[in-house]
């Protein structure tokens, strides 16, 4: 083996410990974890070597390591670990630090990871939406719809919503793009990559759609179903959003007229409209999925660890979005003024939080894990 000079980054070790990997130092390198792991390859398997890198403070070996993302935190390793070193949680902490490392601006990443700044992060969307509502004079006298019902687009008109969310999303996309670019460069440094990356991308998409890897989990096998529900619910909600855009702008720009089934034009749409059906079904799938996610976490806490602030913030945000989303619709139909508007306001604030801070929150797992999976295939690490 070639000689290697190790320069331990002690602050990195401290950061991992502070980020939920406090059991890190218990590891004695027996590699039970690697053997019981259902998703690791045979060549240079994880997570035993990552535990060593982490103990030794070898930041470079971990932050740009695709293996930390190939891990799906099944927690089989944690359940069987003879030392209670919780490799699953340690790798979770390393992933959180990888997100922090790659997502720009890093100040925002530090704020998202630290409960101290939570109020400040929420203050931004709260002020934006309060500003819009105030400027429209909609703190009272919110115009009703033609049939006298609550119409949220009269409360905060669509152009305002679109502007805010397009800006927030654009910010997230740019930040993600910069992060991924740097991450890919770090991963591929010194490597000879052959073949077409598009093939790896296609195969990875199939992997993700089928949740193949997730299903190899043993101790926490229920997580696959829960995640699948949440995942497809998000796809359903994305489709709904696109559909809504089509209804609104298809009508306004291209003059498409609604039919008795497809209601091109302005909100609100009747419940039997296919778009509404897809949207509501997705919302309930998301609610159900999140209930499963939370229940699984509670159930597996003893074997798999109870999760960090980072995990729970993400869960709470999505939970609030889905609950306020469903409630907004119910309260609107039940005409509960002003609670309906307040709930809708909260809904918007949390969606903003999810979108704008996606590159820094656990939402970023979606992008980094997918990238790592593509890279692993491309580098013939697996596949």
């Amino acid at each position: 083996m070639p000689e290697q000079l190790i320069k331990p980054d002690l602050n990195f070790v401290k950061d991992i410990i502070a980020s939920g990997g406090e059991s890190l130092k218990k590891c004695y390198q027996c590699s039970t974890c690697t053997v019981v792991c259902g998703v690791t390859p045979d060549e240079k398997p994880f997570p035993r070597k990552e535990m060593m890198y982490a103990q030794w403070g070898m930041k470079d070996k971990l932050i740009s390591n695709p293996d930390v993302w190939l891990c799906h935190q099944c927690s089989d390793c944690t359940a069987y670990c003879p030392r209670g070193a919780k490799p699953g949680e340690v790798l979770g902490a390393i992933r959180k630090m990888a997100i922090k490392n790659y997502s720009a601006p890093s100040a925002l990443a530090n704020m998202t990871a630290d409960p101290k700044y939570l109020i400040l992060l929420f203050a931004l969307p709260v002020l934006i939406f309060l500003g819009i509502i105030g400027s429209l004079g909609h703190f009272s006298d919110i115009p009703r719809g033609e049939d006298g019902g609550i119409v949220y687009s009269h409360f905060i008109p669509v152009p305002y919503i679109d502007t805010v969310f397009i800006l927030a999303s654009a910010f997230a996309v740019i930040s993600f793009f910069m992060g991924i670019k740097k991450y890919w460069a770090d991963m591929s440094a010194g490597m000879q990559l052959k073949g077409n990356v598009m093939d790896s991308l296609k195969a990875t998409i199939v992997d993700i759609l089928s949740h193949d890897r997730f299903q190899k989990c043993n101790v926490t096998k229920d997580r696959s179903t829960a995640h699948m529900l949440v995942f497809y619910a998000f796809i359903g909600l994305a489709v709904t959003t696109g559909w809504g855009v089509l209804y609104l702008y298809g009508h306004e720009i291209f003059g498409i007229q609604g039919t008795s089934l497809f209601h091109f034009g302005e909100t609100p749409y009747p419940l039997y409209d296919p778009m509404k059906i897809v949207g509501n079904a997705s919302a309930f799938a998301l609610l159900l999925g999140m209930l499963f996610v939370t229940a699984n976490r509670m159930k597996n806490a003893e074997k798999a660890g109870s999760g960090s602030y980072f995990d729970w913030l993400f869960i709470v945000v999505i939970f609030t979005i889905v609950v306020t989303g469903i409630l907004s619709e119910v309260l609107r139909l039940a005409d509960v003024d002003p609670i309906a508007y307040i709930v809708y306001f909260i809904h918007l604030v949390f969606i903003f939080f999810l979108f704008a801070y996606a590159p820094f929150s656990k939402m970023a797992h979606m992008v980094y894990r997918a990238t790592a999976m593509v890279f692993a295939r491309h580098a013939q690490r697996e596949g």
């Binding site: 004695y28 390198q29 027996c30 390859p41 045979d42 398997p45 035993r48 069987y80 003879p82």
Partner: protein, 420 residues
């Protein structure tokens, strides 16, 4: 001055530690009562094929001790005996001992006539149920006392009584019942020993599920002349000879989910057993998967010697998965070679688990108010005046160290009585 009988010492457990304690105390003039749960003395050592440090068979060593016991009128021993109750205090303990019925009295000459006629069988616990004995049986070839015993879980007693008819020495007494014995002693030494950790608790390595996954203690019986295969190491599933044997170190030991501590002897035991395999099968390949090889002190030489054997491989990585091919009953053992960073799937025809030592007090405490450590061993300071522990009741030990601890325990028991 207290009564004369309070000068006596009770030793609980008749294994190598209890025997050593009893002899040391008796040979300086104390009355000693030794009680043993099994129908024979010698404990775990009797089950070994060879033992450290000289790799001699257990009768070498035990034989001398049995002779010392026989010749010493100050030692009184009871087999099939269990301490039920202890009361009183240092210098004046009242102890109740339960004597389980053996159904065979001292007339027995071990002629075996009873066995020949006995129609019932029982799993042979001495050989970890790898073979069977009749309901009337000799615990093992070197049994002390050399006397048969009847297992009343399998014997039909008066409903059969064939053995009673066959016995020409009038040695069988099927009406024997449990008796109670009251003792007055001055001090007590608990030498309650250990049991192999129940490897079926380790759900990922297949013990109890796959026939060819055995424990290190089973391997001792397989290799022993007096064992179920007359000393031939073969696969339990089909009796076939072995060519690839894998040893799994720390099977239960150093594991918070099982035994959190190092069992101290297993590394040496596996290296010793690797030599059993190598002696019987010169072409067989032995692989020992380990976390750290621990061969303390001068035992390091044993490790160095084994390392020179090119048919013995040491691989650093813990086995955490074993699968069986249901057709061939061969096993695939998975571990990461942590030095080359590669997951290995090793084929084996026999897998030996280095199962650790669990103190017998882990699951059943002694009937006295004494202190235990977090692992269930008796604390070296028992917290009760006049009560001491020795051998593997204290911590995992080899025979050599057990004897040393036993001498120390005997001295403490004697000191406790001095000047009374």
């Amino acid at each position: 001055m207290a009564a004369e009988n309070t000068k006596s010492i009770l030793v609980v457990g008749g294994g190598i530690s209890g025997i050593s304690t009893a002899l040391e105390a008796a040979e300086v003039g104390h009355e000693v009562i030794l009680v043993e749960k099994n129908p024979y003395l010698g404990g775990r050592v009797t089950q070994l094929n060879k033992y450290f440090p000289k790799l001699c068979p257990p009768n070498c060593g035990l034989e001398i001790n049995f002779r010392r016991i026989k010749n010493n009128p100050r030692i009184k021993f009871y087999t099939m005996a269990e301490v039920e109750k202890v009361s009183g205090s240092e210098g004046d303990f009242d102890v109740t001992v339960k004597l389980n019925p053996r159904y065979v009295n001292e007339n027995c000459t071990a002629c075996k006539a009873c066995v020949d006629v006995c129609p019932y069988e029982r799993p042979n616990d001495f050989n970890f149920a790898m073979d069977k004995t009749k309901a009337v049986y000799l615990p093992h070839d070197f049994s002390f006392p050399m006397r048969y015993v009847i297992d009343d879980k399998y014997c039909k007693k008066a409903g059969c009584a064939k053995c009673k008819e066959a016995c020409t020495y009038n040695a069988i007494d099927l009406d024997m019942t449990t008796r109670s014995l009251s003792l007055k002693v001055g001090s007590i030494v608990w030498a309650t020993g250990w049991s192999p950790y129940d490897a079926s608790q380790i759900d990922n390595i297949g013990f109890g599920k796959y026939q060819n996954v055995i424990t290190n203690m089973m391997m001792e019986r397989l290799a022993a002349q007096s064992g179920p295969t007359n000393g031939k190491i073969v696969r339990p599933s089909d009796g076939k000879e072995v060519s690839k044997v894998v040893f799994v170190q720390c099977a239960g030991s150093r594991d918070e989910n099982h035994l959190p501590y190092c069992s101290y002897v297993c590394c040496l035991a596996s290296i010793k057993q690797a030599s059993y395999v190598r002696e019987q099968y010169p072409d067989a390949l032995v692989t020992i998967f380990y976390i750290d090889i621990r061969t303390p002190g001068r035992y390091e030489k044993v490790y160095l010697k084994a390392q020179k054997d090119e048919k013995i491989r040491f691989i650093r990585g813990k086995v955490a998965d074993i699968k069986e091919d249901p057709e061939t009953k061969n096993l695939t053992v998975t571990a990461e070679d942590t030095l080359s960073n590669q997951k290995l799937h090793e084929e084996a025809d026999l897998v030996v688990l280095a199962a650790g030592m669990a103190p017998n007090t882990r699951n059943s405490k002694v009937p006295a108010d004494i202190a235990y450590d977090t692992d269930g061993f008796i604390a070296s300071n028992t917290g009760a005046s006049g009560m001491y522990a020795s051998g593997c009741a204290l911590k995992p030990l080899d025979v050599y160290s057990s004897v040393q601890h036993s001498t120390a325990a005997a001295l403490k028991a004697i000191q406790s009585l001095a000047g009374r």
